[in-house]
């Protein structure tokens, strides 16, 4: 398929006795904004880590730009990773570097000249409303600002495909709406593809082109926002309406 950037086929992953991914097949298509949803602990982060090579699946195959990367060594992944970006939950900013140094980091690693780096960093910080924060340390920033700096660091190197792991979890509704708006803007501005993990249904409906719902290690729904709103799939209904009862049995 031409417009599929990343494909995971029949991915299985277990940790000891616990089987977390039970045969997931997922496509991420060029220029789309795919939302991956599911209850906490259903394996969303594990799936992403497998797709990006931070973990290796027990079974299944992964293709990036039609090339099989399932058994790539870490070194081989290093050749692919410059095209990928990932925003980690909590940001994963380097705490001993300033905001500027954090955002400049991927560009420095690529060997770009300092003046070019300065320009790009200032530009993206401005776009994300972070002007003036260049010399602050991550622990001096609020949660929302830290997320935005992490977003800046992820996007400054212009990746082809960017994963956002719960970008708005734990933020207030207004900041969430602002970040959603930002994500849509950045998607257009950078012409990049996004795969967003979230369990915020409202947020997902605002930004998604396509939504995939994960539960119990399997995909239980894959379709557009409209299809999801109209679906009478019991998993979808329970999740969208936020009901404690239903086919999704969560142990609390």
């Amino acid at each position: 398929m031409e417009n599929v950037i990343l494909r995971g086929e029949d991915i299985h992953k277990s940790f000891g006795q616990k089987e977390v991914l039970k045969g997931i097949t997922i496509d991420i298509r060029k220029s789309e904004l795919l939302v991956i949803m599911g209850p906490s602990g259903c394996g969303k982060s594990v799936l992403i880590k497998n797709l990006i090579g931070l973990m290796k699946p027990d079974r299944g195959r992964i293709f990036f730009e039609n090339e099989e990367v399932t058994n790539y060594t870490e070194k081989e992944w290093f050749k692919v990773r410059p095209k990928l970006g990932m925003l980690f939950q909590g940001g994963a900013l380097f705490d001993y570097m300033t905001v500027f140094e954090n955002v400049a980091f991927p560009l420095e690693r690529r060997g770009e000249r300092f003046n070019a780096i300065k320009e790009k960093v200032h530009w993206i910080l401005k776009k994300l409303g972070l002007e003036g924060t260049e010399n602050l340390m991550p622990n001096e920033l609020s949660g929302g600002m830290r997320r935005r700096v992490a977003l800046a660091r992820t996007l400054v190197a212009n990746p082809l495909l960017t994963f956002l792991d719960e970008p708005t979890t734990g933020l207030d509704p207004v900041t969430t709406a602002n970040i959603d708006k930002l994500i849509l803007f950045l998607k257009k501005e950078f012409d990049t593809t996004f795969a967003v993990i979230t369990h915020d249904v409202k947020s997902a409906f605002r930004i998604a082109d396509r939504i995939v719902l994960l539960f119990g290690g399997n995909i239980v729904f894959d379709g557009t926002v409209d299809e999801m709103k109209r679906s009478d799939n019991p998993y979808v209904r329970q999740f969208v309406e936020g009901k404690a009862e239903g086919p999704m049995k969560i142990e609390v």
Partner: protein, 251 residues
């Protein structure tokens, strides 16, 4: 069986980090910014504690040997014996122990905290090898600083010892320094510096390995830090024995 398996994989990964350090060192891939940062930090954070350690080591040596030697009329040997003991064993080993506790634990805690907050994964996603970026510059910084700190500790020990010899034992300073000149040889200094470098590498590799293997939140960091210091100390003692044997055989 699981314990043996874990031990073997621990030794394996630690060896891999060590080989990476050596390779990056000889091919000049030093991550200069990180190397300098850690070099300066090691010096700044440990100069005082190493000074105190060395001084008191020298002082206690003089106290212990002083009275015994004076009893048998061998006060002409005090300075030299203290210098030999400091150079060959006490300065390198004590300094390394202090650095393992001070700096080794800090390295493990730092790298471990980075691991549990996904900063290490973030490095991998940005195509940066965490071992080359985190372990190598720290280990190289220790490899350079520890010989310097060892020599500094040795000097402090000699001076502290001189002070006790003159004030407490009533020894002539000249007697003390002359006996050092007579007994201390160049190879003793070289041995202490070599030991320093080796211990530095050990502390760097062990502390980085433990940092990178950290799991399980803040408690995991705490656990790994303890393991790291203990493992470093044991490695230092074993390496010290082997290096001493080696030096006696070859000289």
């Amino acid at each position: 069986m699981i314990i043996l398996d874990n031990m073997i994989s621990a030794i394996g990964r630690t060896t891999r980090i060590f080989l990476k350090v050596m390779w990056d060192f000889f091919t000049l891939r030093w991550e200069y910014k990180e190397f300098w940062r850690n070099l300066i930090r090691v010096g700044v954070e440990s100069w005082l504690v190493v000074l105190i350690t060395g001084t008191f080591a020298g002082m206690v040596l003089v106290v212990q040997t002083g009275h015994e030697f004076q009893k048998v009329g061998a006060s002409g040997y005090i300075g030299g014996v203290v210098a030999l003991a400091l150079a060959r064993e006490l300065a390198p080993v004590l300094t390394a122990m202090v650095i393992a506790g001070r700096i080794g634990s800090a390295f493990t805690a730092e790298i471990g905290s980075m691991k549990i907050t996904e900063q290490v994964d973030a490095l991998r996603v940005m195509a940066v090898d965490p071992e080359s970026y985190l372990a190598v510059p720290r280990t190289l910084a220790l490899m350079f600083m520890l010989p310097i700190l060892t020599f500094y500790s040795f000097t402090a020990g000699l001076i502290g010892g001189a002070f006790v010899a003159v004030k407490s034992l009533g020894l002539e300073l000249v007697t003390y320094t002359e006996s050092i000149k007579r007994l201390l040889m160049q190879k003793d200094i070289i041995l202490s510096l070599v030991k320093g470098a080796v211990f530095g590498i050990l502390i760097g590799v062990v502390s980085s390995y433990n940092g990178l293997e950290t799991e399980g939140g803040a408690m995991g960091v705490g656990k790994r830090t303890t393991v790291s210091v203990v493992a470093a100390i044991i490695s230092i003692l074993v390496a010290n024995y082997l290096l001493t044997l080696f030096s006696l055989v070859f000289y």
